[in-house]
Symmetry: C2
Subunit: 308 residues, 2 copies
């Protein structure tokens, strides 16, 4: 089968790449811990050669397209943000080319920007996952992309991302577990599902709306008073933070008037936790396709005329 495209999901900590045929068949794939912060001396051309160089050598004219933090100021070349509302075609129109040092080039997908309440917001990589996820689930909806910096995006019937909002849930969870007093009482890395549910319930509980600066302290006091086991505290905090994001996200969904069931796109285990929290909070959620990044890269490459 003839290769038609080299597709790269090139993020902060890791790089995944696929060699795909015109019909979408994956001919070969590679993954490496060569995210932009881990590329020695910032030699991106060497990282490109080490991971997908053999594919390019075998087919010298093969187009390559990459999404993610590789297009950030700290990446290979900055691909300026495209302003919302943004269609897949507008995203394809914003591709930035970089020479790959093997006589060819690589197109970098731009991130998106929007402004809400006067404050700018950004995504980079998620726009490609959204484009890919909606191939099999089109329509007006909210796409939820859990992660270090979770995104909730409003998509119109025609596939345009009209606006979106970010939540630092994953990073706040990580720094609280690793660097705050809350981590001191925790034992183990597992997410106890019952403790997770109790955290979700607490996030939506009575009292002040939000109140997160207060509520996270419970991940200490419940441990101190032996109301949660040390092995359960991590799940409790995870539920509290994901629950807070979901409460905030659902209010945001109401404001942007997208009523369809949220489509959750991303890591399987994390998506399952979001689905669980959405269900508990009365909204429900639909888990999207696992290969959204690859599908999005193919869709954007096609829109740009890079691949058939």
């Amino acid at each position: 089968m003839n290769p038609a495209l080299i597709a790269l999901d090139w993020g902060t900590t890791s790089l995944r790449a696929w060699l795909v045929a015109a019909d979408g068949t994956v001919i070969d794939r590679v993954a490496a811990p060569l995210g932009i912060l881990n590329v020695p001396d910032g030699d991106f051309a060497a990282a490109f050669a080490a991971t997908v160089g053999s594919w390019r050598a075998a087919s010298p004219n093969l187009p390559a397209v990459a999404s993610g933090m590789i297009g950030s100021r700290q990446g290979w070349r900055e691909a300026p943000y495209v302003a919302c509302p943004a269609s897949p075609a507008a995203i394809a129109g914003g591709l930035t080319q970089v020479e790959t040092g093997d006589g060819g080039s690589m197109a970098i997908v731009p991130g998106l920007t929007c402004v809400s309440d006067g404050v700018p917001d950004v995504m980079r990589g998620e726009e490609t996952q959204i484009a890919g996820a909606l191939v099999s689930a089109p329509g007006s909806r909210v796409v939820v992309l859990p992660g270090t910096h979770s995104k909730w995006a409003a998509v119109a019937d025609d596939g345009q991302v009209t606006t979106f909002t970010s939540f630092m849930t994953g990073e706040v969870f990580a720094v609280l577990c690793r660097h705050s007093i809350l981590g001191r009482l925790m034992v183990g890395d597992a997410t106890d599902p019952d403790a997770f549910d109790r955290g979700v319930a607490a996030s939506a509980g009575a009292g002040t709306p939000g109140a997160l600066l207060h509520r996270v302290f419970a991940a200490r006091t419940l441990g101190l008073f032996e109301r949660e086991r040390p092995e359960a505290l991590r799940g409790y905090l995870s539920g509290l933070l994901i629950g807070a994001e979901v409460v905030e996200g659902l209010a945001w969904r109401q404001a942007v008037a997208r009523d369809a069931t949220p489509l959750i796109v991303g890591d399987r285990s994390l998506a399952a936790l979001y689905e669980r929290a959405l269900r508990q909070l009365g909204a429900g959620g639909q888990i999207g396709p696992a290969d959204a990044a690859l599908e999005g890269l193919r869709r954007i490459a096609r829109a740009a005329g890079l691949a058939c």
Copy 2:
């Protein structure tokens, strides 16, 4: 002048002690970085001797009383929490004695506990500052104690702490500055007052109540888009978090029905930031006495009959 009491404010990172006369005159004082996490080999008797041993040697029967994390499970001896509502007399009744190894002893002030929304909350050290601050400003009010784990306490006319609530504001600010992506764009340690005000305004802005997981991300995007200078981002984030605490705290104040102007007790520069945020958010705040811990230790010692 005859010494009447050795008073110690013995926290997590530092130890302050005063040699006081019966009328409150400070005869001598000492400060050392010998907080409970910094005492070599957990030899608290040696730390006691190194800092206040000469005072005890000169007056072998001199009573000593200490408040703070020294009474925690990780301290010298655990002083069990007293449940709210708790008067200064009830706190004095909960003193726990520890032998100091010089033939004498030291009384440790218990912390307080309360339950709100079914979740336990705790303080240790702040109960003493509250008792001290109210010597010169008695009455039914809310006392705000900013810090790593800020406390807002409701105090009744008779001086009882009826209930309180904690906010992890200081620690969340520290871990976000030091360990999250938000710190990467920050330059300098100063708190730009104008940026602080913009952060406070954003914390109380339109949109979802709370929404902190979203709003903190602005401390990155405003930097990315050069809407805030790198030197201003720290102040912006500080305003955002302190503003969120104040919004939550004022709602809590309404729920506990304490209408008097909040009394702010603690570190001068931090108290000034809270006063600034309270003013901006329409509530106003009164900065309490600087020596609240010492006054509280004297008051509790008197109530326990330890010092005249």
